[in-house]
């Protein structure tokens, strides 16, 4: 039982990170119907930006802040203006293909231009262990989980409680009526991209200490975040949280009780089961198909 709890809790920490990446993904989908196959690379790049700022002597907090600014500019503004806006009129698939191309370019550009090796990354949390009823939990696990959870709820609160957030939701639901109501639609869509970029930087901050900064670290992270988003419900932010936690926990349990070799297939199996019974995801709303 203690083993089970142990696995469960460390799975929650990993799952929280999947949730963060998945949340950015559902945000972009809701705001602009964009599916970003480079989401994993959007986490990888900030990790290296932060390493870069730290290598020139900036403390972690400062390099985090600078990376946020840079990420909003590059992964938010440049990405939206340079790739999504020109492709939007052609429908979803060209955007998917272009973001696949982008992920290949980002991954291999970094490998060729910087380094193919894994780089260590300082942890936000001290090396400390908690022992609760025989279950050992690291401070990093608790902290990661807490920070990720707080971020998810802050984004949720922003979306539902503030005027800007509500305007963003209005744009997502019906772009035309939103613009009739005087909402600045392009700006709202940009906010979604900006939030996505910030979430990616936060995910990088939380995930890199354990996974190390490596050119291909985004690959599996991106995949699992996508599966998590779909499991939870593509058009629901709370779904991203649920999906991420489910994938994280199940993966950890499966690695221990079934086979570590097939750990990466867990997300897939849950995904298959969920879409067979509930194609819109666990918390998703049904969308009527258009003729």
């Amino acid at each position: 039982m203690t083993d089970f709890l142990q696995l469960f809790f460390s799975g929650m920490a990993t799952g929280a990170i999947y949730s963060l990446a998945a949340l950015g993904f559902t945000l972009l989908w809701q705001a602009s119907g964009t599916i970003n196959f480079a989401q994993g690379e959007f986490v990888m790049l900030p990790a290296f930006m932060m390493l870069g700022f730290m290598s020139i002597g900036a403390p972690l907090a400062v390099s985090f802040a600078m990376t946020v600014v840079l990420a909003v500019l590059l992964l938010g503004w440049v990405f939206k203006r340079g790739l999504v806006d020109p492709l939007f009129k052609f429908g979803m698939m060209p955007i998917v293909v272009a973001t696949i191309g982008l992920s290949i370019a980002m991954r291999n550009g970094l490998r060729a231009g910087y380094s193919a090796e894994a780089h260590p990354f300082p942890s936000l949390f001290a090396d400390k262990l908690f022992n609760i009823a025989g279950v050992t939990i690291t401070l990093a696990d608790v902290g990661t989980f807490a920070v990720a959870l707080i971020l998810v709820f802050v984004v949720q609160a922003f979306m539902t409680k503030t005027v800007t957030g509500r305007a963003m939701q209005a744009v997502a639901q019906n772009t035309e009526s939103a613009s009739v109501l005087g909402i600045n639609v392009p700006r709202m869509i940009f906010y979604a991209f900006a939030i996505n970029a910030v979430l990616a930087v936060a995910a990088a901050l939380l995930v890199t200490p354990t996974y190390l900064a490596k050119f291909d670290m985004g690959e599996s992270l991106g995949n699992k975040a996508f599966f998590a988003a779909i499991i939870g419900g593509f058009n629901n932010s709370r779904g991203a949280l649920l999906g991420g936690l489910i994938v994280g926990v199940c993966e950890n349990l499966a690695a221990a009780y079934i086979s570590p070799a097939y750990k990466d297939a867990v997300a897939l199996v849950i995904f298959m089961v969920v879409i067979l019974f509930k194609p819109q995801g666990l918390l998703g709303k049904k969308v009527e198909r258009k003729v």
Partner: protein, 327 residues
């Protein structure tokens, strides 16, 4: 078909038939490699370009084909049994994978197939008793045909070329049959296709399964060509590469796979000097191509034609307006 297209095709055919004996061994090998990918992406073009199903797991079928042949040949069976077995298994798996595809569309389907690819790859890597795991299967023999040995690179090249031509002709026929029309109807407007009495379910499954058969045959040829297989060429990355080849060449264009595979297989050899930067260049090129030419390289002639027609139409309108003004 226009004269110029026919001349181009004839020139290509002569080049493909006559040039290889003058090439070095590696050049012949590379051309065979390219043709294998042409066959595989021909199948993917059918699924993606003609039937409009977003499949990102094509390398899994490619791998299933390769491993089927390799395992059967290691068990003492002939290549000529392995090849149809590979095609048949891929057909069955393709149908089986098509079923979830019926429930989900577009992006969900892309992820389902992507996940399927991961699962197949994990089996290849982990089930050592069957696939040799990361050590792979080596010394896969090349077959002989009617007493001629295909052991040599040149002989094998002509064999792959022949297979590619036969499969290409089959696809050409298929696309002109009612089935082919149904596929395109499915892509262009699934709901209208359904209301016209097309059984969308079975055609979705079929487009998947036939595409998988092409990949399976390509995989079988691949195993015999490289003579050593391991899980690496059958990853999700390889699937994505094949998808990009189809998109770069022009999805829904019959000759798209020829061009797309050349970009994916032969171009990297020319760009050897770029080495590590090649994939970066390739990825960036895909992004730019999508922005400027979302329908692929082969859509360039159509674009030029459309532009000319638009210009002529506006000239005609202007002339008509002038005439009206004169009267």
């Amino acid at each position: 078909m226009k004269k110029i297209t026919l001349i181009l095709i004839a020139a290509c055919a002569i080049l493909l038939l006559a040039a290889p004996p003058f090439l070095k061994n590696y050049g012949v090998y590379l051309l065979s490699y390219w043709l294998v990918f042409v066959i595989a992406t021909m199948g993917l073009n059918l699924t993606v370009g003609y039937a409009g199903q977003k499949s990102l797991g094509h390398a899994a079928f490619f791998g299933i084909g390769a491993y089927t042949v390799a395992i059967l040949m290691k068990a003492g069976f002939s290549f000529w049994l392995g090849l149809p077995a590979a095609a048949l298994i891929c057909f069955i798996v393709g149908i089986a994978l098509g079923f979830p595809a019926l429930r989900v569309q577009t992006i969900y389907l892309a992820f389902a197939t992507l996940g399927f690819n991961t699962a197949v790859w994990l089996v290849m890597r982990n089930e050592e008793w069957l696939t040799g795991g990361t050590f792979g299967i080596n010394n896969i023999a090349r077959p002989s045909l009617f007493g001629y040995s295909l052991e040599g690179n040149l002989a094998y090249y002509y064999f792959v070329l022949g297979t590619a031509v036969v499969l290409g002709a089959l696809q050409w026929g298929l696309l002109r049959s009612p089935w082919g029309k149904a596929f395109t109807a499915l892509r262009d407007n699934p709901i209208r296709a359904e209301s016209l009495g097309i059984n969308t379910r079975s055609y979705t499954l079929l487009s998947f399964a036939i595409g998988a058969v092409y990949a399976g045959i390509a995989g079988a040829l691949f195993a015999s060509l490289v003579q050593f297989i391991e899980p690496a060429p059958f990853t999700v990355g390889a699937s994505i590469m094949m998808y990009l080849m189809v998109v770069v060449g022009g999805p829904g264009y019959f000759l798209g796979p020829l061009l797309g595979s050349a970009v994916g297989v032969i171009l990297p050899e020319w760009l050897r000097f770029a080495q590590a930067w090649y994939l970066f260049v390739f990825g960036s090129a895909v992004v730019l191509l999508m922005i400027w030419l979302p329908d692929g390289l082969l859509s360039i002639p159509d674009r030029i034609k459309a532009k000319r027609q638009a210009r002529e139409a506006s000239a005609a309108r202007a002339a008509a307006a002038q005439q009206q003004g004169a009267r």
